[in-house]
Every structure is written in C-alpha cells, then in structure tokens.
C-alpha cells in the first residue's frame, strides 16, 4: 500500500469538489457524444450472442504429409491471434476434421478483411532477384536479343540506385528504395534511364539463357544463373492472368529458384528469383507506418531476431557488390513479390522495410499477419457463411433480466440500509454504468471489443463490486460519526483511510488484470481487459464523483444535521449523544440493546 498510498490527488479532490465533478461530467458528455457521433450505440456482441460469419478453410491438397495434427493446431493458434490480436474480439477458431479450420467471427466485423487475414499464409522470404521483366509483354518481345526493347527491365535499376543513398543514412534500416513504384514509371521513361546507364546489364537476362553469372562471380553464395527451364517459365509467364499467377504461387518453394509476379503502380512485373536467403520466421515484430521521408506512402517495418539480422547484414552486403538486377532482393510474400529494392551497401540494424502500393489498411493487415508468423500450411477458403447466435436470445434476455433484478435488489438493499446516503451510491453506480457502457460501445469500433455472455455476467457482477468501494467509504464516515464527529469532519477524516483501502484493493485487481493481459491470449486476455477497465473506472468514479459529491452534500443541512432519512443520523447509527454541531434532539430515549 505504501505505493498506493502516495495518493496523487489528496489535495485535488479534497480541495475542489466542483472541479472533480466537472471533470467527470465532461467525460460523461464526451463519451456519450462519442457514441452518438460514431453511430455505435450498442456494444458489439460476441458470436455467442449475435452470431456472425463462419469461414471454413481447407488445407491445400498438394502439401502431402505436412497436413498433420501438429501443423493444424499451430495454424489454429496463429489464425486465432491474427483475428483476435487483443483477445477482445471474441472470434473462435477450431479445427474441423483433419484438414479444415473453422473461423467464426462475430457480426459487425469486416468479414472480407477477416477473410484475408485468416487465409493469408504469410510465408515471407527474402530472395535475390535473378531477372525481372515487365509482367505481360514477354511474348511480344521474345527473341530479339540485346536490342532496345528489353531495356525496361533494367530501367528500374537506375531509379533504385538513386534511392539507396537514403538507405545509408537512415540509421535504423533498411530498404527505403522503393523499387516498385519507380519500376512502374520506369516502363515509360525506359529509354531515358536506359541511356543514363549505358551498360544496362539486364537486357542480357531475358535472352541468353544463363548469362548473368558471368557478370558477377564475386561472391560465392550468389549463384545468379537461371536454369533453362526457369527461363522458359519466366518468358511464358503472364502475370495479368490470375490462373498463371496462382500456379506461380503454388510452385513457390523456399529452397528453389522460382518465378514470381509482383505488382507496382498498377503494372505487373515478373521476376526470376533465387532461393530464399532469409526466412520470415526471423521476423520478430512488424508494424505499419506512413513513410513521409522517402515518400513511399504506407510501408511495413520489420524487425529481425538476432540471427535474422546477421543474415540480413551479410546478404545485403553480398548483394551490394553485384550488378543490377542481381543487387536487388525481392520480398516474396506467399509467392507475390511485394517489392524488390536494390541494395548499395550492407544494411545493419536488424530491421527492414517493405514498401509497395499499400493502403493504410493493407499495410496494417500485412503487419498484423507477419507479426504472428506464417502458417505452416497453405489454405483455401472453402466456404463462408453466416451463422446465428449459438446461445438463444433467451440466454441474453435472461442475463439482462437477472441483471435488472440484481440491480433492483442492490438498490433496495442500499436504500434500506443507507437511506439518503444511498442516493450518493446510486448516482455513483449510474455514473459508472454510463461510463462502462459508452466505453464498451466505443471500444467496439475502436479495437473490436465484443461482449460475450460471460462478459455480460461480469458486468452484472461488477455492479456489486463497484458498490463495495462506496460501502467502504460510507462505513468509514459512519465510524467517524460514531466517534462523535459531525459530518463534514467525518467525511474529511474518513476519506483518506477509505481511499487507502480502495486503492490497495483496486491495485490488486488491476495487477491481476495487467498480468493476465500481458501474458495470456484469447478469451482470458479479453477478460483481463474488461477487469482492468472496470477497476480503473471504479477508482475514477470514487475519486472524481463519489468523494466530491459527498463533500458537497456534507454541507447540506439534510445530511449535516443527520436527518432521520439521511442515513447519517447518529442516533440510528447507535450513537447516544448528538454530534457537536447538530440540532438538539430530545435527549435520546437511549435504546439500550
């Protein structure tokens, strides 16, 4: 308690009851206004109460023995975290049969977005670019060798080489060079850039089957040769055709050289890529950010773990010494090239950046997906259907009726026992109810907070627990009255002790909430969130509302003089002599008992 006792606001709430009341009033108005403005006037309900969307995922058939129980369970855990990152959205994920996963998402969630989140495998590889070509027109520009036409592929590189200077400077990272969008433009100003850098090496790439090797030869690891079959594939590939893209994705194996498509600035680009150099498993965290410095728009920042950052440094060091396009590395996510920045020097610091044509939403989705790791399996979405609430409406209705009955009983009890004082308690309960309700509504749209039946029950129980704080306070005041004080000093003296008790016990509750929130996942995390929220609200209401209200009411004759119905009548508290300042009552017919 030593910690809790260093009560911050000993003077504040004591001195200016009006101010504290104003603060809470403003908060009430702001929150209530908030729910009307946001249009979210009821809390979102969990899938057990409101139903939602059920998505069935099926493991892709070509994965053989990888479709086993362990991998399925890992996939369930990862998907659960993706759709339920904070644990408050009440989504449910479970296996069905041997190769399906069902994901249930409560109503009101953006189902399309959720679908993307659950279906993305998120296998992330960093690969060396062996060759790149504009996405479609390979057929039109087939055989003719080193002539002018093929330049587009190379053209990208001058652009990207321009950017790396920033890679060098930006201490923390990575790969600001936005190779993607320049490439889009590159197609148009191909000639110009082509002439910029006379020895554009890339023209060699498309035509002679295994040319690039000759140019480098520098570092051992980098085998930039393109086998004939891959070259053929690359030339045939038409990235504008979804089927072909899907085939490319399916053949995307970490350890092999592959062909892949990527889109930038509305243009498809196709790549021949080397084996994976760094695996996405090395990523420890990911977040979306808006890149104002490089003008890349929305980007996703990645942080590698120890060995990942070492690999990244050595790989970028090797790439930097090579010619274009071999000095580019492609960020390959599930077979799609997100971007393929070029590297001019080894990048240290253990972080990287993915840029591309992201919107805020897509950047955040990608960051979320990368953060929780890749699925061990690839899935197809097999079915998507709405589901009704699992609990009949009568359970919610029953819960609400029970809540109303419980509340009525609490009110009756408080009124019977505390009389006039119960008004303070009821007003406080009301304030705390409004705060809780509005916050839950707003959190529904802000972080996807959803109320399931256990949470509704928790809220009902919270009625009693919140009332506890008031009772602690009231009993303190009464004890002071029993010692013969009049009301105002009794409130002033009772408060510091009640405050300490309330802070110590609320601190314990909050500790439970904080630890569970940080450590656990899923529904337990959701519970911890609710517990922490109600605990903080409890403290806020007692400090900013109950106490100031009491201070003000203590000056009112009704309470100060201990009216029979005030609940503070010393006589009915059993005190035999009247408080000093109170009106003379007829010498008490001392009820001895």
């Amino acid at each position: 308690m030593a910690a809790a006792k260093k009560g911050r606001r000993s003077s504040g709430s004591q001195g200016y009851p009006g101010r504290a009341l104003a603060v809470i009033l403003i908060a009430l108005v702001a929150l209530t206004g908030g729910i009307f403005l946001s249009g979210q006037r009821t809390p979102r309900l969990g899938i057990d109460l409101a139903g939602g969307v059920s998505i069935t995922l099926q493991a892709k058939a070509n994965q053989g023995s990888a479709v086993n129980k362990a991998n399925m369970n890992t996939a369930v855990d990862i998907i659960n975290r993706r759709v339920n990152g904070l644990g408050v959205s009440e989504a449910e994920v479970q296996t069905q049969g041997s190769k399906n996963i069902i994901v249930n998402i409560p109503k009101g969630t953006n189902a399309d977005q959720a679908e993307k989140q659950v279906g993305t495998t998120a296998q992330l590889y960093f690969r060396q670019v062996l060759a790149q070509l504009p996405g479609t027109p390979t057929k039109p520009t087939p055989a003719p060798s080193g002539s002018a036409t093929p330049t587009p592929s190379g053209s990208a590189t001058p652009k990207s080489t321009a950017t790396p200077k920033s890679t060098a400077t930006s201490k923390s990272t990575a790969t600001p060079s936005n190779s993607a969008s320049p490439q889009g433009r590159a197609v148009t100003d191909a000639l110009k850039s082509g002439t910029d850098k006379a020895p554009t090496p890339s023209p060699t790439a498309p035509v002679p089957t295994a040319p690039a090797t000759g140019t480098t030869g520098s570092t051992a690891a980098a085998d930039t040769s393109i086998p004939a079959d891959l070259q053929a594939k690359l030339e045939k590939l038409d990235c504008t055709d979804p089927n072909q893209r899907a085939t490319a994705v399916e053949n995307n194996k970490a350890g092999e050289k592959v062909v892949a498509c990527g889109q930038s600035g509305g243009q498809w680009i196709k790549y021949a890529l080397g084996p994976s150099l760094i695996d996405g498993k090395r990523v420890t965290s990911a977040n979306a950010a808006f890149d104002t410095q490089q003008g890349n728009g929305w980007v996703v920042n990645l942080t590698f773990d120890g060995s990942g950052s070492k690999q990244f440094t050595s790989v970028t060091g090797q790439l930097a010494s090579q010619q274009t396009p071999n000095n580019q590395f492609a960020i390959d996510l599930d077979g799609d090239v997100q971007s393929a920045p070029s590297v001019s020097q080894a990048l240290t610091g253990g972080s990287a950046q993915i840029s591309g044509s992201f919107t805020q939403q897509s950047a955040e989705d990608l960051a979320n997906v990368l953060k929780y790791g890749s699925l061990p399996l690839a899935f197809d979405i097999q079915d998507k259907t709405t589901v009704s609430a699992a609990l009949g409406g009568e359970q919610l209705r029953g819960g609400l009726i029970a809540g109303a009955v419980g509340l009525a009983l609490v009110v009756l009890y408080l009124v019977a026992y505390y009389r006039g004082l119960s008004l303070v308690a009821l007003a406080s309960l009301l304030v705390s109810a409004v705060l809780t309700y509005t916050l839950m509504c707003l959190l529904g749209s802000a972080i996807g907070f959803a109320l399931n039946l256990p949470a509704v029950c928790g809220a009902i129980v919270a009625i009693g627990i919140t009332a506890d704080s008031f009772i602690v306070f009231f009993e303190r005041i009464r004890d002071e009255l029993r010692d013969g004080r009049s009301l105002q000093p009794a409130v002033a003296r009772g408060w510091p002790r009640a405050r300490r008790t309330i802070l110590v016990s609320d601190f314990v509750s909050f500790l439970a909430a904080a630890v569970l929130f940080v450590v656990s996942v899923g529904k337990v995390q959701g519970f911890a969130f609710t517990l922490g929220l109600t605990t903080l609200l409890d403290v806020a209401v007692v400090f900013l509302f109950t106490k100031p209200l009491m201070t003000i009411l203590a000056t009112r004759p009704f309470f100060a003089k201990g009216h029979k119905w005030s609940g503070l009548n010393p006589e009915s508290l059993g005190v035999r002599r009247a408080p000093l300042r109170s009106v003379r009552r007829k010498p008490s017919e001392t009820k001895e008992a």
Binding site: M1, G392, P454, C457, G522, A528, S572
Partner: protein
C-alpha cells in the same frame, strides 16, 4: 436498517463481539472438511470439459425451417448427455456442435439426430472438431496466474507483511479449490465462462481479504505500546468493527449473482448463465467466508509466534491476572474502555503521541472520559464486561 446500523455501532464500540479468531480451530475444521470434499469430488468425478476445451463433433444439416430452439429441443436426447450448441447457417441449414464425442459416438449421434429431425442420415454430415480454446490459451492463462500470484504475494508482503501475504494466498487457494470442487460435484461442463468466472473470483476474493487486512493493519499499529490486548484480541476486534462492512459488501456482491443463478438456473434451465453464475456464487461466498474466518485467524496465528507478540501476550496475561486480583471495582474498567478505542488507532495523531493514546487518548472524548457522569447508568453493568478480551467472551 437501523438494527444493522445499531449493531454496527456496537461492533464498533466493542459492545458486541463475535469470536472469530479464538474459535479458529472450528473454522479451520469446517474449511478443511469442505476442501477435502471438493478435492475428492474432483478426483472422483473429474471435470467435464466443454467443447471449447476438448473438441467434439459437428453436424451440419441441410436447409430446414426449424428454429434453433426447435432443433435444440428435438436433439436434446441424442447427444449422449453432452451439451449441444446449435447455430443456424446462412444457407438455411443448422450446425450442431456436441462436446466430447468420439468418432464412434458421433456416428451414433448422427443417426439419432437424423431421426429426431426427420432427415435422411446421409444428408447430415458429421465431423470431429478440435477445441477452440486450445492448449496454448490454457497454458498462457496458467502462466499468467502463477506470475500474478507471485507478484501479489510480493506486493502484499511489502504493503502489509509476509504473514498477511501468505494468509491471503491460503485463503485464495481455499476459495478456488472449493469452487472447482463444486463444479466437479455438480457435473456442469467447464466452459470458457467458467474459467472467466473463476478468474473473477480471484480478483474478488483478494479484494475482500485486502480490505479486511487493511483494517487489521491499522488496528494493530501500536499494539506493542499497550498491554491490555494480545494480537489475537486486536485482530478479532478489528474483524468485528469491520463486520458490518464485510456483510454489506458481500450481500451487495451476491445479490446480482443470486439473481443470475436463480434466473439462469431456475427459469432457463441449464446453459451458460448457469455455469457462470454457479462459479461466481460459490466463489464469492467462499471468498467472503475465507477473508474473515480463514485469512485473519491465520495471520493472528503467525503473529502470535513472533517474539514481540509473545512478550505482549505475557504482559497482557499478567496484567489481567493483576486486574482480576483487584476485584470488582468499576473505575479501572472504564479506563480499559478508553484504551480499547485507542488501539483502534482511530486518529492519526495517536501515532505521534502513542503513549497518550494508550493511556487516555480521545481528548475530545474526555467528554467520554466523563462517562460515569453521563446519563447511562443502565449501560454500565453491561459495558463493564467489555474490557474482557473479546476473545474470551463467547
């Protein structure tokens, strides 16, 4: 109201006192008995895991016009005693999930459900589903619990002292064991709702205990500076003086839960409401009980072993013997009354002038000092007994 209010006053003044600490053996005995029953129940019956934990079977029916509750009623006998969750799907079909069914049992259920719903069996597809509350969630929740318990013991040891921390932990484990045991005995399925109910109890039980300890700490602040009361006496007094508050907080917390239990269990029959409300009801009751009857007596027990407290006890007993020798005179007894108030540590000033606090504090209560002069002769006889340590009275 005023009855409880008057009782509150008497408890505050020490006129009425219940002997919680002195009779601790009885309470321990009761608790140990209940705990044993709970553990036996747990060992024999085990816990019935809901579909969220153990998985089960899922049946999808073709399009039907039956409502969710129709289906629920019709299939209630087909699930081998397990709980069924029914959801209507977007295509008009129904999804029925049944916990704890093995592959074989699910075939049988499939047959029965098909009959009950009057549908061809091959139109209903059955599959085994895995848990949605995976091992990982349980494991992390457990880790969180352990970390929390360690932190809370450390915190209570700093804020109060290690004895109280240990006592609070014992009380908490007591509450959790009893609640889990009741689940095993009643045979309700353990659902995420249950787990969440248990976690709520965790917070509530500690809250209650901490409130009681806070009063105890305050009451025993200057305990070694007097020689009228042993630690147990003071602990008992402190419990008594906060008894009304404990009763009120418990009643107020239990009322809504009782409403849940009654409406959930009595009117709706089995269901999630029932599961949660039962956990909460049992847990909250146990929590209120243990903070008074278990936690505080344990603290007293620990404290009495401290050399300081042993010395105190010796002094107190000696003094009492002396007082008894002095006989039936009224005066010294009144002095004792004032001391009693002093120990309550009501005024912060007491700390500063501790000695005065013991001897004749309550300056404005000098008014009280003139008590003999005031108009309650009738009270005296009964009050006379007050000085006797409450621990010995009943």
């Amino acid at each position: 109201m005023s009855k409880l209010g008057t009782l509150g006053h008497k408890l505050h003044r020490g006129e009425v006192s219940y002997d919680f600490v002195g009779k601790r053996k009885i309470w321990y005995g009761i608790s140990i008995l209940i705990t044993i029953v709970a553990i036996v129940g747990l060992a024999v019956n085990g816990l019935k895991e809901g579909i969220e934990f153990s998985g089960g079977a899922v049946f999808n029916t073709p399009k039907t016009t039956m409502s969710v509750s129709d289906v629920q009623n019709k299939i209630s006998g087909d699930t081998g005693g397990h709980d069924a969750t029914v959801q209507k799907l977007g295509n008009g079909g129904v999804r029925i999930q049944v916990s704890g069914l093995s592959t074989d049992a699910s075939k049988q259920s499939q047959q029965q459900i098909a009959q009950s719903l009057n549908m061809p069996k091959d139109k209903i597809d059955a599959e085994i589903v895995g848990p949605s509350w995976g091992k990982e969630i349980s494991q992390k929740a457990f880790e969180g619990l352990i970390i929390f318990l360690v932190l809370v013991v450390v915190y209570l040891a700093i804020a109060f002292e290690w004895r109280m921390a240990v006592a609070a932990l014992v009380a908490l484990l007591h509450d959790l064991t009893i609640t889990v045991g009741v689940y095993a005995l009643v045979g309700f399925e353990v659902t995420p709702g249950t787990v969440i109910g248990l976690l709520t109890i965790l917070g509530y039980s500690l809250y209650d205990t901490v409130v009681v300890f806070d009063g105890l700490k305050e009451a025993s602040k200057d305990i070694t500076k007097q020689s009228k009361f042993t630690y147990s006496d003071v602990a008992n007094r402190s419990l008594n003086s906060t008894l009304v508050r404990s009763i009120n907080t418990t009643v107020v917390a239990l009322l809504p839960v009782a409403a849940l239990l009654f409406i959930g269990g009595g009117i709706l029959g089995a269901g999630m409401l029932n599961d949660i409300a039962l956990a909460l009801f049992v847990g909250l009751t146990a929590g209120a009980y243990s903070s008074i009857f278990i936690a505080t007596p344990i603290v007293a027990e620990f404290k009495e072993r401290e050399p300081r407290m042993k010395a105190l006890r010796k002094r107190v007993l000696a003094k009492r013997a002396a007082d008894a020798a002095k006989g039936e005179q009224g005066e010294p007894e009144d002095a004792v009354i004032d001391d009693a108030d002093g120990i309550d540590g009501d005024e912060p000033e007491d700390g500063a002038t501790a000695a005065a606090g013991v001897v004749g504090q309550r300056t404005q209560g000098a008014a009280a000092g003139t008590r003999p002069a005031r108009n309650q002769p009738p009270g005296r006889g009964s009050r006379g007994s007050r000085n006797r340590p409450s621990g010995k009275r009943r």
